[in-house]
């Protein structure tokens, strides 16, 4: 009886350990394989990004990006070389065609997944990058294609990066850091670097998004003060370095400073919608578009809730209540005072 019990317990324990596919050993092996594959893919990605940005990948930069030792990084490089994905030309690391394709797929999967999180889920912005870092290794090229189709073949990810196509190449990031721009020059924020995470989270918290129009008010060694979409922002230079901008020669600084948003509209005023801020995306954006908040629509304040928020607006013959966070994302131009 006792012997039976021990045998049975032994069988159950060893079964749980070595069972094919769902045993502890098999799971551990799979997790290890995934980690190794992820490391290889991350190295390829790093080399590709360096190539696009015109810098030279080194053993140290690889080890730093992947947070592994240089010895481990060397092992990974050797393995990639033996698989015919990478080659050395003197000191320089070069991607072979197969390696390039794999690296492009990883970048594409990452940026598609971020787009998916931004457009079709309510996952908060600060988590997009971390989740995409994991998902990029799990999506197959076919799944990535299906995802792209489902999203309507987006060209840019939510950070403003171009989503690469396979076959193709990674396009270098255009523009310059916000810091490099002289004061009082209108610019368009094209990209917000999502690494390192802590800095990105701070930029997100300030409400900064690609697509916003901005200009620098004043710069000093300690801080940079600038205007972006109706608000003044103050950032330390190390943070501002992660904002990439391009010049907007067709705009004047005064236009940007006088930009108005629906949240600022007073009772009795009438305005025309200019468009939605890029910070408004996904289901929220589609909903506002459906309700008629498109360029050219006339709006006016109908009434304000006794609690102070939301406010009801008159749009195309209906009355729609919006919360302040939403009405702050709708660009308007005030027309004339309506006599009540």
């Amino acid at each position: 009886m006792k012997l039976w019990g021990i045998t049975l317990a032994g069988l159950i324990v060893s079964g749980a350990l070595v069972w094919p596919r769902c045993g502890v050993v098999a799971r551990w092996r799979r997790a290890r394989q995934l980690t190794e594959r992820s490391q290889r893919e991350d190295v390829l990605k790093h080399v590709l990004k360096c190539r696009a940005n015109g810098t030279q990948p080194t053993l140290e930069s690889i080890a730093g990006t992947l947070q592994i030792s240089t010895g481990q990084a060397a092992d990974v490089l050797q393995e990639l070389e033996s698989h015919g994905l990478l080659s050395y030309e003197g000191e320089a690391l070069l991607l072979k065609p197969a390696g390039l394709e794999m690296a492009l797929h990883i970048v594409r999967a990452h940026r598609l997944w971020e787009s998916y999180l931004a457009e079709q889920t309510g996952v908060s912005e600060a988590e997009w990058h971390r989740r995409a870092e994991r998902q990029e290794h799990l999506l197959t090229p076919r799944e990535a294609d299906a995802l792209a189709a489902q999203l309507g073949h987006p060209r840019y990810d939510p950070h403003g990066d171009i989503i690469p196509e396979t076959p193709g190449d990674l396009v270098a990031e255009k523009g310059q850091p916000l810091q490099a721009v002289p004061a009082n020059t209108p610019v368009l924020i094209t990209h917000i670097e999502d690494e390192p995470e802590t800095i990105y989270a701070q930029l997100c918290a300030q409400g900064l998004r690609p697509g916003m129009r901005a200009f620098v008010i004043e710069k000093s060694a300690q801080r940079i003060r600038f205007w972006a979409d109706g608000n003044e922002h103050v950032l330390a230079p190390v943070l501002a370095n992660n904002l990439t901008v391009t010049l907007l020669p067709e705009y004047k600084t005064e236009d940007l400073a006088e930009e108005e948003f629906l949240s600022g509209l007073r009772t009795g005023q009438r305005a025309k919608v200019l468009g939605l801020s890029p910070a408004c995306r996904g289901a929220e954006r589609r909903r506002l578009l459906d309700l008629g908040f498109v360029a050219g629509t006339a709006v006016e304040v109908e009434m304000v809730s006794p609690a102070g928020d939301p406010t009801a607006y008159r749009v195309r013959g209906t009355v729609i209540a919006l919360r302040r966070e939403q009405s702050g994302l709708i660009r308007i131009a005030t027309e004339e005072a309506v006599t009540a």
Binding site: Q120, T121, V294, M303, R314, I320, A321, Q326
Partner: protein, 477 residues
């Protein structure tokens, strides 16, 4: 390429051209399409339509809105409106409930028993069918039907008139703080009538995250089936603690406190959910304020009676009938010397006493999952079964209520009830799993076993926690 000469482009060329053109479009393609559609529609409408005179809404609407959403009058009008609605429901339902109970329980039930005996049914078949299935169904109908038939039409009239969206508009800020939607004010209100109907009503919330919050927290609105339990227990055990002239005030205050505690839990749980499990769900806010229109009285009465009242009632009956059978069987099937119910009560007693209740109450809540209305009758029947007092009740497995409060109280005290038991029962009645009709409705509405399980288990988990804490603190003093 010669522009005049017809050229035959290969499919590949066309695709390449399409990809190239696509890259030239700046911004979001979908947005351009939406804008173009609106611009076209506006142009066509402007050409075809003339808008004579004043374009804005009728001034009556504006004036009414000024009052109903004003800083001074907005909230008082709202509170007065709902207090009136509840008063009409509770006061108005008493009389027809009494009639129905008289007809179905006092008149028809003995007739059915005599009839069954006359037809020569064996005792167990009569007990099973008449005392079990029929009596539970009759009970649910007589308690549930009148309040719902009064509450739902009034609610629908207000909805039709256009007042309820204004309530959502007034209260949105409160709900926003806990991550919910202002329209949840309406579904919670509906939940005070019936949670199943409240869950169905969440369809008006079009944002997925806020809708799930409204569904999961609807059970914290004290429904019609639970008000009578609250009122009975409060007046028996809490009202009697103070001098007679204060008794009514204290027991009414206790019931209102429990209902407000439910509202508090609604906000608390909504807040917690929107920051944890529901974080990744899609969220968007919009609230349309339609123009006021005169409600269509007869149509409203018809649809609210058929669509809301009858459907909910039918589901309740479908679930109550088997529950009656289970209750009767558990009290009459014997294992050894004791009935199944007695075994179960003994089994549940340690846990029940641990959280300041008892085995009888827990078993009553298990068998009364189909309908909260039969909790009190089941508790009374089980208490008689356990204490063996033969002078009240109608035998094993037969639910009953007593005419006099004093005798109900003495029966319960014989079953070991104290003030602590009463307080905990009131709390547990607020915080326990939704009735099976509601659970089924949640499953139908969410289509997900996961959210259904959460909506079912979360309140009962909270119930155990809260009653345990109350008991713990109580026993310290």
């Amino acid at each position: 390429m010669n522009a005049n000469a017809p050229t035959v482009a290969s499919a590949d060329d066309i695709l390449q051209a399409a990809i190239r053109l696509r890259r030239e479009i700046s911004g979001d393609l979908h947005e351009h399409v939406v804008e173009a559609i609106y611009a076209d529609a506006a142009r066509i409408a402007d050409r075809a339509m003339t808008r004579p005179g004043e374009k804005s809404r009728p001034t009556f609407d504006r004036r009414l809105d000024r009052v109903l959403t004003s800083r001074v009058w907005g909230f008082p009008i709202m509170i007065a409106m709902f207090a009136l609605m509840f008063w009409i429901t509770i006061a108005g339902a008493n009389v027809p409930s009494g009639w129905l109970a008289n007809l179905l329980v006092d008149q028809l039930w003995p007739m059915l028993r005599t009839g069954a005996n006359g037809l020569g049914f064996p005792w167990w078949l009569t007990g099973f069918l008449v005392d079990g299935v029929y009596l539970a169904t009759a009970w649910v109908i007589s308690v549930m039907l009148p309040p719902m038939a009064i509450f739902f039409p009034m609610f629908t009239l207000l909805e039709d008139f256009g007042y309820l969206p204004r309530v959502a508009f007034n209260l949105d800020r409160l709900f926003k703080k806990s991550g919910a939607h202002g329209k949840q004010a309406m579904t919670t209100m509906m939940g005070f009538g019936c949670n199943a109907a409240g869950v169905v009503a969440t369809r008006i919330i079009d944002s997925p995250r806020e809708r799930l919050i409204a569904i999961v927290t609807n059970n914290f609105a004290l429904c019609n089936g639970r008000w009578p339990t609250q009122i009975l227990v409060a007046s028996l055990f809490l009202g009697s603690l103070v001098p007679a002239h204060l008794a009514g005030l204290v027991s009414a205050g206790a019931v209102v406190s429990v209902a407000l505690l439910g509202v508090f839990f609604t906000f608390l749980v909504a807040w917690a959910l929107s920051r944890t499990v529901l974080k990744g769900e899609v969220s968007s806010f919009s609230l349309e304020l339609p123009p006021y229109r005169p409600p269509q009285l007869w149509q409203t009465l018809y649809t609210s009676l058929i669509d809301r009242t009858m459907i909910v009632l039918w589901r309740a009956v479908v679930f109550a009938a088997p529950a009656g059978a289970v209750i009767w069987l558990s009290a009459n099937l014997k294992i050894g010397d004791l009935s199944v119910a007695q075994h179960l009560v003994h089994l549940l007693d340690p846990m029940g006493i641990f959280i300041g209740l008892n085995g009888v109450i827990l078993l009553a809540y298990v068998v009364a999952i189909p309908a909260n209305e039969i909790v009190v009758p089941t508790i009374l029947m089980l208490t008689v079964l356990m204490t063996g007092s033969a002078e009240v009740g109608h035998g094993a497995g037969v639910m009953f209520e007593l005419d006099s409060d004093a005798s109900t109280k003495s029966l319960l005290e014989a079953g070991g009830w104290t003030v602590l038991t009463a307080v905990n029962l009131m709390l547990f009645s607020l915080l326990h799993n939704p009735c099976s009709t509601t659970i089924y409705t949640i499953y139908k509405e969410t289509g997900s076993a996961r959210w259904t399980a959460l909506a079912t288990l979360l309140p009962i988990g909270l119930g155990f926690l809260v009653t345990f804490l109350v008991t713990f603190v109580w026993r310290l003093f």
